[in-house]
Amino acid sequence: MLSFLIRRLLAGLATLVVALFLMFVLVNAAIDPLSDLRESTAPNKQQLMAERVEMLNLDTNVVIRFFQWFGNVLTGDFGIAWRSMQPVRDLLTHAIGSTLQLVTAATILSLVLGVSVGIVSALRQYSGFDYAIIFLSFLLYSLPSFWVAVLLKQWAAIGFNDFLQDPVIAWSVILGISLVAGLVWSLAVGGRAARRWQVFGISAAATFAMFAYLQLSGWWERPQIGPILLLILGAGSALAISAIFAGLHNRRALYTALTTVAVGLVLYLPMQVVFDSIDVTNLIILVFAVVAVGVGFLIGRLYGGPDWGISARSGAAVAFIMGGLIYIDQVMQVWPPYFRALSGRPIPTFGDRTPNLGGNYWVGVLDAFTHLLLPTVTLVLIAFAAYTRYSRSSMLEVMSQDYIRTARAKGLPERTVVVRHGFRNTLIPLATIVPIDIITLIGGAVITEAVFARPGMGQLFVRSLGDSEIEPVMGYLLITASLAIIANIVADVIYASIDPRIRLDA
């Protein structure tokens, strides 16, 4: 393993240096730092040009300049962007921060949604739901992201802001949404006609009740989760998690999940006081999250039993969800003042924060959320399609294997066959794709960032290339290329560690 890593890292370093050299030459040929001076009408044009050539060292051969730049990078000096005179290192740090915010949310959402929809679609192969999902994923896959982004920006953002001015949904629209939700759920759950109608009725009624509640309680003006919704959502997710990952007959796991929900509910009010009395930072939230997961795990451990691991994991997952809900509730509490501060148009279409907003930590988080909303939707729509297709075909492949037949033949319940034998093996090919995807995204959702003017990595690259600044462009390429090489190595290592048939030493 160690020799494999060393070999790959050395090969990767060599590739990196050669790639950087080629890119330096290419970028150097592509940009023209003198273009604005060439067209200028200043009387001292020649002198200005000479000064710039002097400043940027343009007389020197490009190969020598590459090695000068590379030598500086090795000593930790990324140079400066000459137009703004800002150090490239600072520019990159800011840009990575902004991009990470965007990429994390989008990747997690699209993975969870895409994988679950893809698997359900594979389990219902050749059904109406399957065909609908195939068509949808093809459609989303064929959408140009810049078109979607502009559409969301010009249409959805303005429409949603208008809606928030006077948040009333017509009852006919609510009815329509409920019927569509009922149809989707009944197709996804499947089964015999009677069961389909049952699922249709329940899910349509539940959707209708939810929208009616939101409408009648004035939720849109004052969004919050509160203890009641916390109970419903928590209990729902506890049931879902234990039903899928442990099976409802596993009473210990079920009781663990429900106990965790109860603990979360009891802690709801004390947490309000805690959050009010201390100065919250991201670090503290992280500590709270770890503690919550630990508590959930402990509850499962205490229920004991021969397979306590499964209870502990369900407990941890439920605890994480409860903690997340309490956190979101806290963020929602600052919505009314935030709404007023932005004079009633809270969904922004550009940037990654509102300048000079002020306010405490929670306002900052809410502001980041509203700025993330539209770019995240854009990225999720497109990544969702890809993950659905991957996981669907992977699941179909796995479910036709002999070991699935064996699992069924030895009388395992269908849930165990799908979750333990099918789902886990479905994740193997995904595990090699996802790290590469994430790291490619860190290189910037170039288009999404350009449309929404988020000052991230992609935007940094596009702007610097347009401004003929070679240092930031090369700094950007250095980071993305190294990350791409690391991602490939990580994917190989993950593959080898989850699939015992692959050995890296061979």
């Binding site: 050749y126 140009p144 078109w147 559409l151 390429l477």
Partner: protein, 358 residues
């Protein structure tokens, strides 16, 4: 798989399963089988129809180069009087009529239908050129690396890694800026020069597996040269993989081209591309939304139909693909016709009776 290596003595279970299929493809060549399967794929057929329709529309309406088409505008005339207020589309559904400017006019009075058709031509041209260039390079590099292995393989694969290391859109942007303003064809060829990596890896994998097969040994014993073995013996067997991934490559190529043109690094005025139109007109979204809708719609239609064709080709080339009715349909058929069930049990070979006895 097991039956293909040993066709003389198929196992009892496979016999039933394969009998119908074998009957279906008996006496047909590989090409005929693939064509049959492809034309049975409804999505692919629809995609093919739409794509051909789009190509015909784009080529005949405004013409190519010096040849002029049947449409009355070229999309370059400015200062036409606005037919509708603000240049809104004149196309109406009731009564169905096109009018002078079916897709509307921009702020200079230019006809948007003609401009969209020009843009579609450019984008389609870029798509096909990228597809051809990338496929040729990918196949050459992949086959040489996979066939010869050893040092040549290592060198070529290191080179592929090098190209993969930098994100496509980044190289595309640099190339676009480098060749910017020259012409669409130069831009397309340069993009093709970097998009071959996935294909070359796939082809290499296929070659590594195929070169160990008996028919390659047979050809070598018969004295065939390496070049002959590569092109006449191995390549035809890898054609499925190549065609499918080339199709999928083209659908991503059109998205890449439009995205780069949108960012301003691709095709620039006075040439027209669909992405560049969207970039030009996005500011006018609130006042003239039709300027934004039509180019986007055409990108989606082209990419979607190419994707469907690719999917159909994949199914057609994949021997493991079988058309199996869903469980529910089977159950329904059984319920509806009890004789079907009897028929099914009687066609089982007698050997299965032994299993039933266990």
């Amino acid at each position: 798989m097991s039956t293909s290596t040993n066709p003389e003595t198929p196992t009892a279970g496979d016999n039933v399963e394969n009998a119908i299929e074998l009957q279906e493809v008996a006496g047909l060549s590989q090409g005929q089988i693939v064509r049959r399967r492809f034309f049975r794929h409804k999505g692919a057929l629809a995609g093919l129809t739409v794509l051909i329709g789009t190509i015909l529309l784009a080529v005949t309406s405004v013409g190519v180069g010096p040849v002029s088409g049947w449409w009355m505008w070229t999309g370059y005339e400015t200062g036409n009087p606005m037919t509708n207020a603000g240049g809104a589309p004149t196309m109406t559904l009731s009564p169905p009529a096109l009018g002078d400017h079916p897709f509307g006019q921009d702020e200079l009075g230019r006809d948007i239908f003609a401009r969209v058709m020009h843009g579609t031509q450019t984008s389609l041209m870029v798509m096909f050129v990228i597809g051809i260039v990338a496929t040729v390079i990918g196949v050459l590099i992949g086959s040489v690396a996979g066939y010869y292995r050893g040092k040549r393989d290592t060198a070529l694969m290191r080179f592929t890694d090098l190209v993969i290391t930098v994100p496509t859109i980044v190289i595309g942007a640099v190339i676009g800026k480098l060749s910017g303003g020259i012409s669409g064809i130069v831009f397309a060829v340069s993009l093709g020069l970097i998009l071959w990596t996935t294909l070359s890896r796939l082809v290499r994998g296929e070659f590594l597996a195929l070169r160990e097969r008996e028919f390659v040994d047979a050809a070598r014993v018969a004295g065939a040269s390496s070049r002959r073995i590569i092109f006449k013996h191995i390549l035809p067997n890898a054609i499925g993989t190549i065609i499918v991934s080339a199709t999928l490559l083209m659908s991503s190529a059109i998205l890449l081209e439009t995205a780069l043109s949108y960012l301003g690094f691709g095709i620039t005025a006075p040439e027209i591309s669909l992405g560049q139109m969207i970039q030009t007109y996005q500011q006018a979204f609130s006042t003239r939304p039709w300027l934004f809708w039509w180019p986007g719609l055409f990108i989606v239609v082209i990419a979607l139909s190419v994707n469907f064709i690719g999917d159909g080709l994949r199914d057609a080339f994949d021997p493991r693909q079988k058309r199996i009715p869903s469980e529910r349909k089977m159950a329904k058929a059984m319920e509806a016709d009890a004789s079907a069930q009897r028929a099914l049990t009687t066609t089982l070979p007698p050997s299965s009776g032994k299993l039933a006895g266990l």
